[in-house]
C-alpha cells in the first residue's frame, strides 16, 4: 500500500464508508447495530455531518478491515489533482541539476516556514502567560 504519502481527502471518508457499507450489502440499521451507534448517527456521518470518537471511527474501520487496502488506493488516487500531475511532469522535464535546485529551494522554503511558526509560537507563549 502506498501509505507513506499524505492523503488529504477528508470528505471522502464519509462517502467511502457509505460505499463500503453498500458493497457489504449492509443497511444503515444493520451496520449501526454492529457498531453500537444509532442509525441516524451513521446516516449523518456518511453525509459528513456527524463527527465521532476515535473508538467509533476505528470500530468502523475494523468492520471493513478487508477493504482497507482498497480504501487507501482509491483515496490516494483521488487525492492527486491535475495541478499535482502538471507539477510532477514539469519537474521531471527539468535536467538533474535543475531538479536539485528546485529541491533545495523547497527545503529552504520549508525551513523559512518553520522559522515563521517558531516566531508565532514565541508570541503565543507571551499570550498564554499573560
Amino acid at each position: 500500500m502506498a501509505i507513506h504519502q499524505k492523503v488529504r481527502q477528508i470528505q471522502l471518508v464519509g462517502r467511502k464508508i457509505r460505499e463500503l457499507r453498500k458493497e457489504h450489502k449492509l443497511t444503515q440499521v444493520e451496520l449501526s447495530q454492529r457498531l453500537g451507534i444509532q442509525q441516524s448517527d451513521l446516516s449523518r456521518m456518511e453525509q459528513g455531518e456527524y463527527r465521532v470518537s476515535l473508538d467509533t471511527l476505528f470500530r468502523i474501520l475494523a468492520e471493513f478491515q478487508m477493504s482497507i487496502g482498497e480504501f487507501f488506493d482509491e483515496l490516494a488516487q483521488e487525492s492527486i489533482t491535475p495541478r499535482d500531475v502538471r507539477l510532477v511532469q514539469q519537474f521531471n522535464a527539468l535536467p538533474n541539476d535543475a531538479q536539485r535546485e528546485v529541491e533545495d529551494f523547497i527545503a529552504f522554503k520549508r525551513s523559512m516556514h518553520r522559522k515563521d511558526d517558531r516566531a508565532d509560537s514565541d508570541a503565543d507563549s507571551e499570550e498564554e502567560s499573560k
Partner: protein
C-alpha cells in the same frame, strides 16, 4: 458535575462535609470529595434524616460517577427521581444520571435526564444549577455533533454562571472554545481556550487544565500551525502522563501524530500513531499506516 452546590436549610455539621466535598470536586480532587460525601451520608444515616440521606447519596454519586464507579449508584438515583419527594434531590439525581450516561457515551439517554435537570433547576430558581444544566446539555449536543445548538447552550451557561465559579466557567469556556473552533470561528475559539487554560493553571487545577490544552492543540492544527500544535500537545501529554485520563490520552496521541505528520516529521508521526495503536487498539495493526495516510480530523469529535 462540577460545583454541585450547597443547599439552604440543612444542619451545619452535615453541610460542612458537603461544602468540603464540593470544594474538593471543584479542585478536581474526586477521591477526597467522595470521602467527604461518604461521611455526610453516614451522618445522615445516624440522624435518620431521609431527605439528607438522599442528598448525601446524590453527592456521593456525583463523585463516584466522575471516578467511573457510578454503576452501583444508578438504581438509587433513579429511585430518588421517581419518588419525587424533594425537588432539590430530584434535580441532583436527574443531573447525576445524565452525567453517568454522558460518561458512558449514551448521549441520547443523557440528554433526556439533562433536560429534566434543567427544567427542575428553572423551577427551583437556581441560577447556578441552571448554568450547570445548560453546560451539561451543551456537552451532550456537542458529543452528538449539533455544534450550533451546543454553542447556544454553552453561551447560556456562561451567562448564568457566577463570576466566582472560576473552574466551572473555565470548563464552559473550554467547551465553547472547542465548539467555535470546530465551526471555524477561530478567533473566538482561541480567546476562550486561552482564558480557560490560564484560569485553570492559575488555580492549580492540573487535571482540568489539560482539557483546553488538548483543544488548543486541535485549534492550532485547524489553523495550519502544526509546530505550535505539537508543542501544545506535548505539554498536555506530560500532564496526562502524571494525572491519568485514557480518553484524553487517546485523543492527544492522535492529535500529536497528526501534528507531526503535518509538520513533515513522518517518523515522529508514526511513533505517536504506533503508541496510540499499541496502548489502545492492540488488534488494529493497520492504524498507524491508516492515520499516516488519511486525515480524519474532520471526522473526529474530541468531545464525543
Amino acid at each position: 458535575m462540577i460545583g454541585e452546590e450547597t443547599v439552604e436549610g440543612i444542619p451545619a455539621a452535615f453541610e460542612e462535609l458537603r461544602v468540603r466535598g464540593a470544594q474538593a470536586i471543584e479542585a478536581g480532587r474526586l477521591e477526597e470529595a467522595e470521602r467527604y460525601f461518604e461521611e455526610a451520608f453516614v451522618w445522615a444515616e445516624q440522624h435518620g434524616e431521609s431527605n439528607l440521606l438522599d442528598l448525601a447519596l446524590c453527592n456521593r454519586a456525583a463523585a463516584a460517577i466522575d471516578l467511573g464507579r457510578g454503576e452501583r449508584e444508578l438504581p438509587r438515583l433513579r429511585e430518588i427521581l421517581m419518588r419525587g419527594a424533594d425537588p432539590v434531590n430530584c434535580r441532583i439525581a436527574a443531573y447525576n444520571i445524565a452525567r453517568y450516561y454522558e460518561l458512558n457515551k449514551s448521549f441520547k439517554k443523557a440528554l433526556f435526564y439533562g433536560q429534566i435537570a434543567r427544567d427542575r433547576s428553572e423551577h427551583l430558581g437556581r441560577r447556578d444549577w441552571l448554568a450547570s444544566s445548560h453546560n451539561l446539555i451543551g456537552n451532550l449536543l456537542l458529543a452528538e455533533s449539533f455544534f450550533e445548538k451546543a454553542c447556544a447552550e454553552f453561551e447560556q451557561a456562561l451567562a448564568l454562571s457566577p463570576e466566582d465559579a472560576v473552574v466551572r466557567r473555565a470548563l464552559i469556556k473550554d467547551n465553547l472554545g472547542y465548539c467555535y473552533t470546530v465551526q471555524g470561528r477561530y478567533e473566538e475559539g482561541f480567546r476562550l481556550l486561552f482564558e480557560s487554560y490560564r484560569s485553570l493553571r492559575r488555580l492549580g487545577a492540573i487535571r482540568y487544565s489539560v482539557l483546553p490544552r488538548v483543544a488548543l492543540c486541535f485549534a492550532y492544527l485547524e489553523v495550519g500551525r502544526p509546530a505550535r500544535a505539537l508543542r501544545c500537545g506535548r505539554e498536555a501529554l506530560d500532564t496526562i502522563e502524571t494525572t491519568g485520563g485514557s480518553e484524553m490520552m487517546k485523543n492527544l496521541l492522535y492529535l500529536l501524530g497528526e501534528a507531526a505528520n503535518l509538520n513533515g516529521d513522518l517518523e515522529l508521526a508514526r511513533n505517536y500513531f504506533s503508541r496510540l495503536q499499541r496502548e489502545f487498539y492492540p488488534d488494529a495493526g493497520y492504524l498507524p499506516d491508516f492515520l499516516l495516510a488519511i486525515d480524519v480530523r474532520k471526522l473526529i469529535n474530541l468531545k464525543a
